[in-house]
């Protein structure tokens, strides 16, 4: 819990619990594990702490489900009470058929294999398949649900988190000034883009994919170049 965020590797001891004050409540987020009297990192990445939560943020291609994450899933199959959803993770997610806005027993969403959904991970644990929902915690839709049409591509989990983070990702800011498009980002490394013209969709997708290792200034230049070329 010392100072600014630092890079940790799997196996690094983050701190020993015995040395800390006894009465503090500390929540361990993803990438950390408690081994008897010490907290150890089990993922490579940057160690962050905010309020009383400690977690490791790394960038991978594979997504490990964690509660409260917003993800983009692809429907694989339908079971009696839930959809099986691929999350680009080691296990398939389970999305109950009634966990959609306006869904009732008589009005079940008709999602076929290959349908794209934007959902929220309700419960994730190493022993179970992650439970998903297309409703927020209070029961409303608030943007979750099937994503119709548009274009879906994959990126690293780190880039996905940057796209969703604050301050606004420079590429998105620059694109938003000149173009009109819809975008949904899943922390499981998937991005969905939709706009009226295919050329716009292609431009937006290219800009996002190529911006991962660029600084803010470089990202603005990238966008300018792409917009110029499109004219």
């Amino acid at each position: 819990e010392e100072g600014a965020s630092r890079i940790v590797l799997p196996g690094d001891v983050v701190f020993g619990l015995a040395a800390q004050a006894q009465n503090k409540v500390l929540r361990l987020g993803s990438g950390l594990s408690q081994d008897a009297d010490r907290v150890v990192a089990i993922k490579a990445g940057r160690l962050n702490h905010a309020k009383s939560k400690l977690w490791v943020e790394g960038s991978q291609k594979r997504y490990i489900p964690s509660a409260e994450d917003s993800v983009i899933g692809i429907v694989i199959d339908r079971r009696a009470e839930e959809f099986l959803v691929d999350l680009n993770a080691p296990v398939l997610g389970l999305l109950p058929i009634l966990s959609f806005e306006g869904a009732t027993r008589k009005n079940i969403p008709n999602l076929k294999e290959g349908a794209v959904v934007y959902g929220r991970v309700v419960k994730a644990h190493r022993d179970i398949s992650p439970a998903l929902s297309c409703l927020d915690a209070s029961g409303k839709g608030s943007g979750y649900g099937p994503l119709k049409e548009g274009y879906l591509f994959e990126c690293s989990t780190g880039l996905a988190r940057s796209l969703l983070g604050t301050p606004t990702y420079p590429v998105l800011e620059a694109l938003g000034k000149s173009l009109a498009f819809e975008i949904a980002v899943g922390v499981n490394g998937r991005v969905w883009v939709k706009s009226d013209a295919p050329a716009t969709t292609v431009l937006v997708s290219n800009a996002i994919i190529n911006s991962e290792c660029l600084s803010a200034a470089q990202q603005h230049i990238l966008v300018q170049k792409l917009l110029q070329a499109a004219k």
Partner: protein, 205 residues
Amino acid sequence: MAKREDDLRTPGELLGLASEFNAGRGSYCHDGKIYASLVGIRHLIEAKQGSDDLRPTIEIRREKERDAVPEAGSTVTAKITKVQARMASADIVCVGPRAVKEKFTGIVRQQDVRLTEIDKVDMHSSFRPGDIIRAEVISLGDSRAYYLSTAKNELGVVSAVSVAGMPKFFLVSTKSATMVAVSWQEMQCPLTNQREPRKVAKVVT
């Protein structure tokens, strides 16, 4: 004691008269006579002191002890192998006090975990893979698994290891983290003092 070969009976063999004997396990009464229904050794059990019926009971018992097999109503010890949204799978290890020779699979369904609020049962808060449970066999189930129930106070998780004590592939934790029951819903890890939810069995000592 008579030689064992002499006492070996086969099904249909006449054992005695119903007026002189009681038909016990492995034998039956027909037309006033007692016949054997199993292959085995004949045993005579004296009548209980003070009972009205003074006739001894004839029993036919198999020569060898049969392997333990779960039957409806028997209490079994099982190890949870998989936890899913609406059921948990377990390997039956013991039937009563006897260990089984070959593995049997059992399933605990969501509605059979406990007696109250069965539609609100969260399987993951009741069992975790690796837990040892005491359960009762409800039925022989289907060809894949027996149906088990933990819907009694004395049934449920008997022994469980906490997350802290789970072997991780690169960390070797030599301390034992077998959890201690705190209530019928929670167990506590001795290493980290963290509580984990389980459907705990009330072990009567």
